[in-house]
């Protein structure tokens, strides 16, 4: 047992070393991680009197409430918050386990070196450490805030314990669920091949939780996963001791049973015979003689060169066979749905603009958001082809724009007609949507070139189309949000005050278009330059 534990710790330690070295090689990851750590810390600490950093109540406020001796409704809110954190950690770990990109490289080596339960323990431990590392700053800051608010040092100490127990249990649940997903996928070639896409509703849920967090928190706070909030509260108030102990016991017993379950599932997921991949396209070779021209082929080569066309076809074919690259395309629609329902009641005139922004954003959230990562092993081909980088970037942008512009324009036109029934406004909004879509796609190809995500650890290991890096999605969303501020700001101002002329909204739209087009142009040039100056293998 002792030896197995030592081995598990060794596996986790090596994973931590690898992770640290990867971070060192990609400083931008550290930048984004720090940004998220700061954000989470601010949310956890919450409102502090005299410091106008964040308006919502957090650890300091709950500490004060605990000190009053009757937590009441505040405890319910804290439980809800803890429930949301639990679900987010679980879902992220689950997707992370199912994606398992850096796992394949060493899996065979480790599987033939240590028993599966030890390997699972090491793998799980490394994931707990990663989650713990991410949440550690927020936990410590939250503990200090809670201890200050409640004037209870023990409360602060138990806050850290609660945070660790929460992170460990949620990670273990997510890890087990991820392995269950992989084991299940081994029975179905479709699910195995498109497992990330199949898991996308969970990602949508994850984002949906942020959007509708108040409703979600009430629901999740009522479940036992919310009891982790009782641990520091129990120390400060003396109430809720039973549920606090139950939460800690749940972590211990749950941890052991989840590890045992994971080991069984891992055997199926990693060593099961599974099923043959659905790889055969046809029994004979795909005939090069079948050259029936498509609509795209009818465009003169002076407008659309043969190399660019080749890239467009290749991207389309690859996306059809590896739709996981479109994972983040669906997220804007989830956001659109929730926000759209609320806005329809308060500011219906903003709906066409929102449809245009989210539609355009969705079109750029596919393969264009990871052009270098999607090329991966094939980069030497692109780079040793005359004009390859230019054709490639152009091909990527057109592959998305050609498919995306029309549906977005149609949706925006429908939404506009629903709101105003004015043909002029409909045409104007259609034009707005078309330009915005192309501009956003160009923005996405630049951000994707800046923040690539590879299927393997190195470009040479990466042969397949993959989902964009989450930080690329984050940066892209931020860029879209900033570009949309003028038009959305003008609409909100108009809804709030009758004195704002409609011309202000039009001006806001023009500024948004100007910003997007400028950003798109710069991003496009940046992407081409990045490909042209890429030093393969360095």
């Amino acid at each position: 047992m002792k030896r197995a534990l030592e081995r598990a710790i060794r596996i986790a330690r090596i994973e931590a070393v690898r992770h640290a070295r990867q971070q060192r090689e990609q400083p931008w990851r550290v930048f984004f991680e720090l940004f998220l750590v700061v954000f989470v810390t601010v949310v956890v600490v919450g409102r502090i009197p005299g410091v106008g950093l964040y308006p919502e109540p957090g650890a300091y406020h709950y500490g004060q409430v605990a000190a009053s001796g009757s937590p009441g409704a505040a405890l319910d809110t804290a439980r809800g918050f803890v429930g949301i954190v639990f679900v987010i950690v679980t879902l992220v770990t689950m997707l992370w386990t199912m994606k398992a990109q850096d796992w394949r490289e060493q899996a065979d080596g480790l599987l033939t070196t240590v028993p599966i339960p030890t390997l699972v323990a090491g793998d799980l431990l490394s994931k707990i450490l990663k989650v713990g590392r991410f949440l550690s700053v927020a936990s410590l800051a939250g503990a200090i805030a809670f201890a200050s608010g409640s004037e209870s040092v023990l409360g602060g100490v138990l806050f850290v314990l609660a945070a660790f127990a929460l992170a460990a249990t949620a990670t273990a649940v997510g890890y087990t669920a991820g392995l269950a997903g992989l084991a299940l996928a081994s029975y179905s070639p479709f699910v195995r091949e498109h497992r990330v896409l199949v898991g996308s509703p969970l990602v949508a849920l994850y984002f949906g939780l942020f959007v509708g967090s108040r409703r979600a928190s009430a629901l999740l706070g009522g479940l036992p996963i919310g009891w982790y909030a009782d641990i520091p509260m129990a120390a400060a108030t003396g109430t809720g001791v039973t549920t606090a102990i139950a939460a800690l016991l749940g972590t211990t017993l749950g941890g052991v049973s989840l590890w045992w379950t994971s080991a069984r599932l891992a055997e199926r997921a990693w060593l099961g015979d599974g099923v043959a991949p659905a790889s055969v396209e046809s029994s004979a070779r795909s005939p090069t003689t079948d050259q029936s021209p498509t609509l795209l082929d009818r465009i003169p080569t002076t407008w659309l060169s043969r190399p660019t066309r080749a890239v467009i076809y290749a991207v389309w074919r690859r996306i059809v066979r590896a739709p996981q690259a479109l994972l983040y395309v669906f997220l804007p629609f989830v956001l659109l749905l929730v926000i759209g329902i609320e806005l329809a009641a308060t500011a219906p005139e903003s709906i066409p603009v929102l449809v245009a922004i989210y539609g355009a954003g969705a079109v750029g959230a596919g393969a264009t958001l990871n052009p270098i990562g999607n090329e991966g092993r094939s980069l030497p081909v692109t780079m040793t082809t005359p004009g390859g980088p230019r054709h490639l970037v152009r091909g990527y942008v057109l592959s998305a724009a050609l498919v995306g512009v029309l549906p977005v324009v149609a949706l925006v036109a429908l939404a506009t007609l629903g709101v105003t029934a004015s043909p002029v406004a409909t045409v104007a909004m259609g034009l707005f949507a078309a330009i915005l879509t192309v501009a956003f796609v160009a923005v996405s190809v630049g951000i994707g070139a800046w923040l690539p995500e590879f299927d393997g650890l190195r470009p040479a290991d990466s042969a397949g189309l993959t989902t964009p890096h989450v930080y690329a999605v984050f940066a892209y969303s931020l860029a879209l949000a900033l570009a949309s501020v003028p038009v959305l700001g003008a609409i909100l101002l108009q809804s709030a005050s009758a004195n704002i002329a409609p011309l202000a909204v039009v001006s806001g739209g023009v500024v948004t278009l100007g910003l997007s087009t400028l950003a798109g142009g710069l991003s496009y040039r940046y992407a081409v330059r990045t490909f042209e100056s890429h030093q393969y293998g360095e």
């Binding site: 070779r285 090069t288 690859r318 081909v381 042969a463 397949g464 030093q535 293998g537």
Partner: protein, 263 residues
């Protein structure tokens, strides 16, 4: 007299304090098969990446097909490259992959179709060309990678371990293909650890050790020289013996400068 297909003068590549390639100078005539040997980590792949414009040299200069390697757009129309890992998209079929590269190279459809058909037949891939590449064996991927590298009939083709993962029949096809490419006046820069392949095919052999070209000559020239230097009078020196002699651990590369023999 036509200019050399590949010409390098004091070509150097440093990564921080590490020198991967150190003052490489060589000249390879058009139509030659150049066997590029060296132990793991000697700098062979880095050299190939510099010649194929994938990475920039730190110092020195080189020309490939008469074009300076610092000008990617001038060099790339003339070269084909098969890296150690064949650069293929897993989601495409073998045939689609080749059509894609033909399109990227702006090859006319009829020419591309004829060449793809011919090369697929030659490499016994015609029946599997409609299957997705991620279902291919390593050898099949290697074959598609080679076809892709020579599809546009480049002046110079760089092959990094082209016989790696191939079964004996496919390896023979590969050797025949390389010989065929050379007979068409295509220059082949061949890096491999399979020394009999180099012995069979190469007009000239260069041995890279610790980033430096420590021996160069015809296979027979190198063997004869090594044989003459052997005190034991062994008369069946193989290229493998020569290679092991030259790249013996702990021996300073400078000692091998004299191994350079004229072609």
């Amino acid at each position: 007299m036509s200019p050399p297909a590949i010409e390098a003068t004091d070509l150097t590549k440093r990564y921080g304090d590490t020198t991967a390639v150190d003052g490489l100078s060589l000249s390879i005539p058009q139509g030659d098969v150049y066997g590029f040997l060296g132990p793991n980590g000697a700098g062979k792949t880095t050299t190939m990446r510099m010649f194929t414009t994938l990475t920039k040299p730190t110092a020195g200069e080189a020309r490939v097909a008469g074009q300076p390697i610092t000008e990617r757009d001038s060099v790339t129309p003339h070269i084909g490259y098969l890296p150690e890992e064949p650069p293929l998209y897993g989601e495409l079929t073998g045939c689609e992959q080749l059509e894609y590269v033909a399109g990227l190279r702006d090859m006319p459809d009829d020419v591309a179709t004829e060449r793809i058909d011919r090369l697929l037949e030659r490499f016994d891939l015609a029946t599997d060309a409609g299957k997705r590449i991620d279902a291919y064996s390593k050898g099949m991927r290697q074959k598609v990678g080679v076809i892709q590298a020579v599809l546009h009939e480049p002046d110079v083709v760089f092959l990094d371990e082209p016989t790696s993962g191939l079964d004996p029949r496919a390896a023979r096809t590969m050797r025949e293909t390389i010989a065929d490419l050379a007979s068409r006046e295509m220059t082949v820069f061949l890096s491999t650890h399979i020394l009999p392949v180099v012995d069979d095919l190469a007009d000239t052999v260069g041995v890279l050790y610790d980033g430096r070209l420590v021996a160069e000559g015809t296979p027979n020239g190198l063997k004869a020289r090594a044989q003459a230097e052997r005190a034991d009078g062994e008369d069946d020196e193989s290229l493998e013996d020569v290679f092991l002699d030259i790249t013996r651990d702990g021996e300073a590369p400078d000692e091998h400068e004299s191994s350079r023999t004229p072609t």
